[in-house]
């Protein structure tokens, strides 16, 4: 009843090509942004921000990056953790080696380094596809793990191999309190999500999707596979690298290569698949599912005051979580984003479905 585009006429191509063509969507997104930027920093508890919202935002960003590669361009990658690590360690090196390096610049340069590494490991994609490519990107994971464990220059000769970033500030503002960290991440995520959304709507996004759907056909109609695939790797690794830098700098503040191990890559791939391949919105759903749900499950016994053994709780969490993954994949193989759009379709007809 409320959610209906009747009467919203488009009189120009511009209006027709907006990200959110329906007025109600625009209002909803504006409300979500207001909520996230204005209300949440005031009402959310420290725990909610530090332990849930910040990791959620950063991993959403990483999932958006991976979604560009896997969801839009169809190149399966298991090296996401590695690209995050490159971003984090590169940003760290820029920060400690260059005096007075602005924080945002080092985070973005971290992303640039991840881009370079991503493109290098993306080169095999020109020859191999599917599972074979997944295995090739797995090499990135092992190589990067090795490099940050073994090459002590990369960790500024830290004796324990763990590095840390402290005293974060942007333009003289301290990024110290949970609210400021949250807002810092939120700005990054909002800007990058918007950029990514526009990229995938544009010409290059169409090239990626054409590549994903059938690369031979795409090449026949004049899309250069080299260009399309490597730009997908580049853009994806850049976003993933920035997310990695944020994960290190803002969330963990002290980290070791184990923070970006293979499990991280798997988690991100699950986020993208469960959230919805080829959907920016889906990246957020997927991240919420993978990050927030285990914590909610973990906390469940305490909220309801059920005394439960810690080990049992941990096992139960894994079991329920695993079952839910299977459930959602069975119910909707196209991910939570697809459920979301089905919901919207239903809402349009509500309350008078045919």
């Amino acid at each position: 009843m409320l959610y209906r585009e009747n009467g919203q006429f488009k009189t120009s191509y511009r209006a027709d090509q907006q990200i959110f063509p329906i007025l109600q969507d625009r209002i909803a997104i504006a409300l979500v942004l207001v909520l996230a930027f204005v209300v949440v920093p005031f009402v959310a508890s420290e725990y909610l921000m530090r332990a849930i919202l910040i990791p959620f935002l950063i991993l959403s960003l990483a999932a958006i990056g991976l979604n560009i590669l896997v969801g839009y361009c169809g190149q399966i990658s298991l090296g996401t953790g590695a690209f995050m690590a490159v971003g984090a360690y590169a940003a760290y090196n820029f920060q400690v080696r260059i005096d007075g390096m602005p924080l945002i610049a080092s985070l973005l340069l971290g992303g640039v380094c991840a881009t370079v590494v991503g493109v290098v490991f993306g080169i095999p994609s020109l020859r191999i596809k599917g599972l074979y490519l997944a295995v090739a990107t797995l090499a990135a994971q092992f190589f990067v793990d090795w490099a940050f464990l073994r090459i002590s220059w990369l960790t500024n000769d830290s004796s324990s191999g763990s590095v840390s970033a402290a005293g974060l500030q942007v333009l003289g503002l301290q990024i110290q309190s949970p609210a400021s960290k949250y807002l810092f991440c939120l700005v990054f995520v909002t800007v990058f999500a918007l950029l990514a959304k526009n990229l995938v709507r544009g010409a290059i996004g169409r090239e990626w999707m054409a590549m994903r759907d059938m690369d031979v056909a795409a090449a026949v109609i004049g899309i250069r596979p080299v260009y399309a695939k490597l730009t997908a790797f580049a853009v994806s690794s850049f976003i993933v690298g920035v997310a990695g830098a944020l994960w290190g700098f803002v969330h963990l503040s002290t980290w070791e290569p184990a923070a970006f191990n293979l499990n991280r890559s798997f988690d991100l791939l699950f986020m993208v698949i469960i959230g919805g391949l080829g959907s920016i919105m889906g990246s957020f759903f997927g991240a919420a599912f993978i990050v927030v749900l285990p914590i909610v499950l973990d906390n469940m016994p305490y909220w309801f005051g059920i005394p439960i053994d810690t080990a049992l709780a941990a096992h139960l969490t894994s079991m329920i979580f695993g079952a839910l993954i299977v459930f959602f994949l069975v119910v909707e193989p196209h991910g939570l984003a697809r459920l979301w759009s089905i919901g919207k379709e239903k809402l349009r007809l509500w309350p008078f479905p045919h």
Binding site: S45, A51, A166, L252, S253, A311, H315, L339
Partner: protein, 445 residues
């Protein structure tokens, strides 16, 4: 139907999140001192993490049952499973730090988590106790105000092992030209001792060989191939969890004499050797504490906790090496709280900041230890503003195939070597973090 159930799920989740948003109201509580317990009872490190966690919890239960708390202040606790993962540990820390009137002290049970929490503790004003692990440089209390690596760090441990090896070899001059291999867990935990060993290897000109084992350490074939090829005179084992028993089995398969193997105190507990049994006979490890149920504190735990069927773990685990260590850690936390009460008001609930003072002014002499029931379990220790370790003494224990036998000689880490290293590392850390050295006035607070 499907949509409905989805809505239900969403509603439940939303309700959960809503309860997260509402900050824990500061109830006017009955006097309760809250000890958050970061533990891991799942994953590859669970065999070692579980007795440790049980020790901590049982000691709290015992103090509540026997003494009714600390001067009338009841002790409460809540566990959170970290799985030895840093990000999960940070989540647990955030979850527990403000609960039940505020956390007293955190024992992260993991070097990686300790590193991450070292940045957060000063902001939240909660001390960290890292007994025998964590950041070696944190011994310098003038820089690391909130860290307490009581009773030893990886540097003191490594130093003691070299001392002992030199002693068995017949003097430091005999070490010249010898090969010592460090088989280590490839993580900050395993890498921490390296600078100290390098320092020692320069001093005595022995050859230090570094052999990393990828975490969690179930696959060590490559590492032991290296050992087989280079035939080091001694092997130091810096492992944790499943890595230790695997290493011993590999040593057995490789035919490397177990008598020449020396483990850190985290590689010297029952779960490490039990599966290997006689195959580990002769294997040595550092001993921070003894094992056994004869100390009075263990008897009390058996009587007041297990006697009332309130034990956290199985009864026969009481008094095992890591269980005892968990008990010691909890005892030190509680004694620090008691010490803080002496200054800030007996019978009151202490804040993290006050307990930090208690940690810094711990004075547990032999008499005090005896009265606490820890006679013979550990050495006396006393901390100060500058020294957050309190004692660096440790012994060597040897596995005879059925139990750990602690050798009588006590070793103390060589201050001449450790002190300058700690100072330099602490300065470097402070420079990176832009921390400043504490003043003498700050020590009074």
């Amino acid at each position: 139907m499907k949509v409905k159930s989805l809505f239900m799920a969403a509603a439940v989740t939303a309700a959960g999140l809503a309860s997260l948003v509402t900050s824990p109201a500061a109830f006017a509580q009955a006097k309760e001192q809250f000890y958050p317990l970061l533990v891991y009872r799942t994953g590859p490190y669970a065999p070692n993490g579980t007795p440790w966690a049980n020790g901590k919890q049982d000691y709290i239960k015992m103090i509540n049952a026997r003494d009714g708390g600390i001067n009338g202040v009841k002790l409460t606790y809540e566990e959170c499973e970290t799985g030895y993962a840093t990000d999960k540990g940070v989540e647990c820390y955030e979850r527990l730090k403000g609960k039940n009137g505020g956390a007293t002290v955190f024992d992260p049970q993991s070097t990686g988590i300790t590193f991450a929490l070292t940045d957060k503790a000063p902001i939240d004003k909660i001390p960290l106790i890292t007994l025998g692990y964590g950041l070696s440089a944190a011994q310098d209390g003038m820089i690391f105000k909130w860290n307490f690596p009581l009773m030893g760090s990886y540097w003191t441990g490594a130093d003691i092992l070299v001392q002992h090896i030199a002693k068995t070899a017949g003097g430091y001059d005999k070490l010249k030209g010898k090969k010592i291999a460090l088989v280590y867990h490839d993580s900050p935990f395993g890498k921490e001792p390296i600078p100290e060993l390098q320092e020692r290897s320069k001093m005595h000109s022995f050859d230090l060989q570094l052999i990393p084992v990828a975490a969690p350490g179930v696959d060590q074939k490559a590492a032991w191939l290296q050992v087989r090829q280079s035939r080091p005179d001694y092997v130091m084992l810096w492992g944790w969890g499943v890595m230790n028993s695997t290493a011993l089995k590999e040593a057995q398969a490789t035919g490397y004499p177990r008598e020449k193997m020396y483990g850190v105190w985290w590689a010297g507990a029952e779960p490490d050797v039990k599966d290997v049994g006689m195959g580990a006979k002769g294997y040595n490890a550092l001993a921070l504490n003894t094992a056994g149920t004869h100390p009075k504190v263990m008897q009390d735990i058996l009587k007041y906790v297990h006697g009332k069927d309130a034990g956290t773990g199985p009864k026969d685990e009481v008094g095992s090496v890591l269980y005892t260590r968990g008990v010691i850690i909890q005892m030190l936390s509680i004694e620090a709280t008691r010490r803080a009460q002496e200054r800030f008001g007996k019978g009151k609930v202490m804040t993290g900041e006050q307990v930090r003072w208690g940690f810094e002014n711990l004075a547990l002499d032999q008499k005090k230890l005896d009265s606490l029931g820890f006679a013979g379990v550990m050495r006396p220790l006393s901390t100060s503003c500058a020294d957050h370790m309190g004692s660096t003494w440790a012994r060597i224990e040897t596995w005879d195939g059925a139990k750990w036998n602690v050798q009588p000689t006590w070793y103390e880490a060589d201050e001449q070597i450790i002190k300058p290293m700690v100072k330099a590392a602490a300065e470097k850390y402070a420079a990176e973090k832009k921390w400043t050295r504490r003043t003498a006035a700050d020590c009074q607070s």
